[in-house]
């Protein structure tokens, strides 16, 4: 098991010019702490849609790599989106699931199937073959690099510890986040 802060620190070091989509709650709040930048699409709701939104971004910009940072509870809520990803097989999409076994932003209630659901087998069963589990910090960096550089769709499941940090959400309104993200996309396309 990896401490959340350590996992996000590694991701922040490895992610450079990729588009990042973050799931509502812990993923958005944690990522904003370590790597605030306009090319982040911070979702503020609803739960369960990060993978679908990430697929839409990846289809809209097939020349850009898209990384989705999602939690286990939210992924379960929208796991049918993985069938859509498997059907389209976007080579530019990497989904990273940070699994602490609870709905942290919702009071830390246990997720359905916590400790029982084998996410990697489920994801592979839905048709995403390149799927791996990381449980130790010493292998997170190399596994992430491998999945990021490979042709997707790819899935990395990261087992993290439970520690409620009470991080703040982005201070901007969603519409402002949208326009800032779109401006950054246009700017990066020109450069």
């Amino acid at each position: 098991m990896i401490e959340r802060a350590e996992a996000f620190a590694v991701l922040a070091q490895e992610i450079t010019d990729q588009i990042v989509v973050t799931g509502v709650g812990s993923q958005t709040n944690s990522w904003m702490q370590v790597k605030p930048r306009p090319l982040n699409l911070y979702l503020r709701g609803p739960m369960g849609l990060s993978a679908a939104v990430g697929l839409g971004v990846a289809l809209a910009h097939p020349d850009r790599k898209v990384v989705v940072l999602e939690g286990d509870g939210s992924l379960l809520m929208g796991i049918t989106a993985l069938s859509a990803i498997a059907g389209r097989r976007p080579p530019n999409l990497l989904l990273v699931c940070l699994d602490n076994g609870v709905y942290e932003a919702g009071g830390c209630g246990r997720t359905a199937g916590a400790g029982q659901t084998d996410f990697v087998r489920a994801v592979q069963g839905l048709g995403i073959d390149r799927a791996s589990l990381v449980t130790e910090s010493r292998t997170l960096r190399s596994s992430f690099r491998e999945h990021l550089s490979a042709d997707g769709p790819a899935y990395l499941h990261v087992s993290i510890g439970l520690r409620k940090d009470n991080l703040e959400p982005p201070p901007l309104r969603p519409a402002e986040l949208k326009f800032r993200f779109q401006a950054a996309l246009s700017e990066s396309a020109r450069s």
């Binding site: 849609l49 519409a175 996309l185």
Partner: protein, 167 residues
């Protein structure tokens, strides 16, 4: 041209880049044609929320997107339309088969048409019936102009009258 070919061609002319759909037998000819499009990336979805999420991702990334579903599935999408579509102000086109209206009343459809328009009213989603001559009147482009001006989703409802162009 049949309905599917006409609608898919109109979507291509409107510079739609991403489509997602959940099947309905009125919409299936359109969906089949979109799957073969050279300019639109079409992603079949298992649930209507997923289809909307895919289209909203594409729209947030600056591309025109269209989402196709039946009205039964539309009723699943309240949270997505409220906390993503409305909160972020995402312009996209929803094409919804409004099953169960007069002339299309089957045992499986009756309740759907009772709730689809009140549902859209509750979520403040502008909607119009898809006209039979939608390709001659530029209705698809007009719907996108409305969505982009208002920065919110707009729905075109497919009824039995939409399917066949009258002579």
């Amino acid at each position: 041209m049949n309905f599917g070919e006409r609608l898919a061609t109109a979507l291509e002319k409107a510079d739609v880049r991403v489509a997602s759909s959940v099947p309905d037998n009125w919409l299936e000819p359109v969906i089949e044609r979109l799957a073969a499009s050279g300019t639109i990336s079409h992603a079949p979805a298992a649930r209507e929320e997923d289809a909307l999420g895919i289209c909203m991702g594409a729209a947030l990334a600056g591309r025109r997107a269209v989402c196709l579903m039946q009205n039964a599935g539309l009723l699943n999408t309240g949270g997505t339309l409220a906390t993503l579509g409305d909160a972020f102000g995402i312009p996209l086109l929803m094409i919804v088969a409004d099953r169960g209206r007069l002339g299309d009343v089957g045992i499986a459809h009756f309740e759907k048409a009772r709730f689809s328009r009140p549902f859209l009213d509750a979520l403040q989603i502008p909607y119009h019936d898809l006209a039979a001559d939608f390709d001659r009147t530029g209705q698809i482009e007009q719907a996108f102009i409305m969505a982009e001006a208002g920065q919110r989703p707009v729905a075109l409802l497919v009824t039995s009258d939409s399917l066949e162009e009258k002579p």
